[in-house]
């Protein structure tokens, strides 16, 4: 899953904790974690961005709390307590989004609640925040959160441009553009993510060769 070796990490530059989530260990494109919301709500750029930010917020808050409590939580019940911490913050986010925009709340639907079971958040809590200091955990969460949002936006933008002919509800194609309806449909989510993974594979094989 994650590659960092937390024990010998004192010398590592702290900014590295932030940067690694953006590209090298990108949660979606490289680690393939948290796929469910990625595919389900990335049908428009707006939804994708909102979902990414909500997930990043929960990730940040739960990483902070897990890191603060890392010396107090008994090892046997750690997963259960992490889940409880995450569920609490997701409930907060759920009510916050409902208060900010009912429209957005409706289009995201049950997927806000489903952030609880996003493997990305639990895996960061278990693999990173439970072993590292508060400051490092915050940077890690920010990096992963931004990386996740970026990946979601990549998917959402492609799907909205091709499937709806617009970006952020602004039409960008001239009249007569035939929308690729399939991109808005569930199948389009699978195809778009597969295409992104192909592109990233190509880039990485090039890098290895040179």
């Amino acid at each position: 899953m994650s590659k960092e070796n937390s024990g010998s990490g004192q010398k590592a530059v702290t900014t590295d904790e932030f940067i690694k989530g953006l590209w090298r260990d990108n949660p979606v494109f490289v680690q393939v974690l948290g796929m469910c919301p990625v595919l389900a709500v990335s049908n428009t750029a707006e939804n994708a961005l909102a979902m990414g930010l909500a997930t990043a917020f929960v990730l940040l808050m739960s990483n902070i709390l897990v890191s603060l409590l890392r010396n107090f939580v008994p090892k046997q019940v750690r997963i259960a307590s992490y889940i409880l911490i995450i569920a609490t913050f997701v409930t907060v986010t759920d009510y916050a989004i409902q208060a900010i925009s009912v429209e957005l709340y409706k289009s995201l639907g049950a997927f806000i609640s489903l952030i609880v079971v996003n493997c990305l958040i639990l895996s960061r809590a278990e693999a990173f925040a439970s072993k590292n200091t508060l400051w490092k955990s915050i940077l890690d969460a920010l990096g992963m959160g931004v990386g996740f949002t970026f990946a979601l936006f990549c998917l959402g933008a492609v799907r909205e441009i091709l499937g709806n002919g617009s970006i952020f509800n602004l039409p960008i194609f001239p009249e007569g553009f035939q929308n690729w309806i399939v991109m808005i449909l569930p199948a389009g989510g699978f195809f778009t993510l597969a295409a992104w993974l192909l592109i990233i594979n190509v880039i990485q094989t090039r890098k290895v060769k040179t």
Binding site: V32, L33, M35, C36, L39, A40, I79, A80, I83, L84, A87, T88, V90, T91, D94, Y95, A110, S113, L114, V116, V117, N118, C119, L122, V182, L185, P186, A187, G188, G189, F190, F191, L193, A194, L197, L198, N201, V202, T205
Partner: protein, 193 residues
């Protein structure tokens, strides 16, 4: 209240709105354990069982929470029930069949974070299903999950013998197959209506 017939609910959850291919729930085990048909079928069985139990519990919890007027506890109590059910299933399988326990490995505890299970509990609450309807809904979702898992596992077993371009090996290829399967499942639209 809901007026759908029980058969329609089952068909809807199982084929028309298949949890994996239409709602994208439970993608992690879908990509993780879909390498072999045998493991996939056992995984499907375990998920179906947890789904049924947690769906029944979710119905009871929802009724209780409405009674004490505390809907904000919904998510937290659902996830606790699911986590303890998974723990129970894990102990049961370990006792009854150690071989199966070893072959499922890490994916057994990970059922807790399977979105499909929490998804069933949340959707049935949102749709206002009664007890019997909830059980049928969970059953349909479980069967649908198993079908999707078996289909993709069978395809991947065959693909091991195919020559594909190096860059598309692994997750990318599986996602392409899933996309095509999802297109096929769209053919079921309107079946349960």
């Amino acid at each position: 209240m809901n007026t759908e017939s029980l058969g329609a609910i089952f068909l809807n959850a199982c084929l028309v709105n298949n949890f994996v291919l239409a709602y994208f729930l439970g993608i992690c085990p879908f990509l993780g354990v879909s390498g072999k048909v045998e493991t996939a079928s056992k995984m499907g069985g375990a998920v179906m069982f947890v789904m049924l139990i947690s769906s029944m519990c979710a119905y009871g919890i929802h009724a209780g929470l409405v009674a004490i007027n505390a809907p904000y506890l919904q998510l937290i109590s659902y996830i606790v029930v699911i986590a303890s059910t998974v723990q129970l299933v894990e102990m049961f399988i370990k006792k009854m069949s150690p071989a199966l326990f070893r072959s499922l490995g890490i994916f057994l505890p990970l059922i807790t974070t399977n979105c499909a299970i929490l998804g069933v509990a949340l959707f049935q609450t949102n749709k206002g299903y009664g007890f019997l309807e909830s059980v049928i809904y969970a059953l349909g979702a479980g069967v649908g999950f198993t079908i999707a898992l078996l289909l993709i596992a069978g395809l991947r077993e065959q693909l091991n013998f195919a020559e594909v371009p190096g860059i598309s090996k692994g997750t990318a290829l599986t996602l392409f197959i899933a996309g095509i399967l999802s297109l096929c499942f769209m053919g079921f639209a309107g079946l349960g209506a």
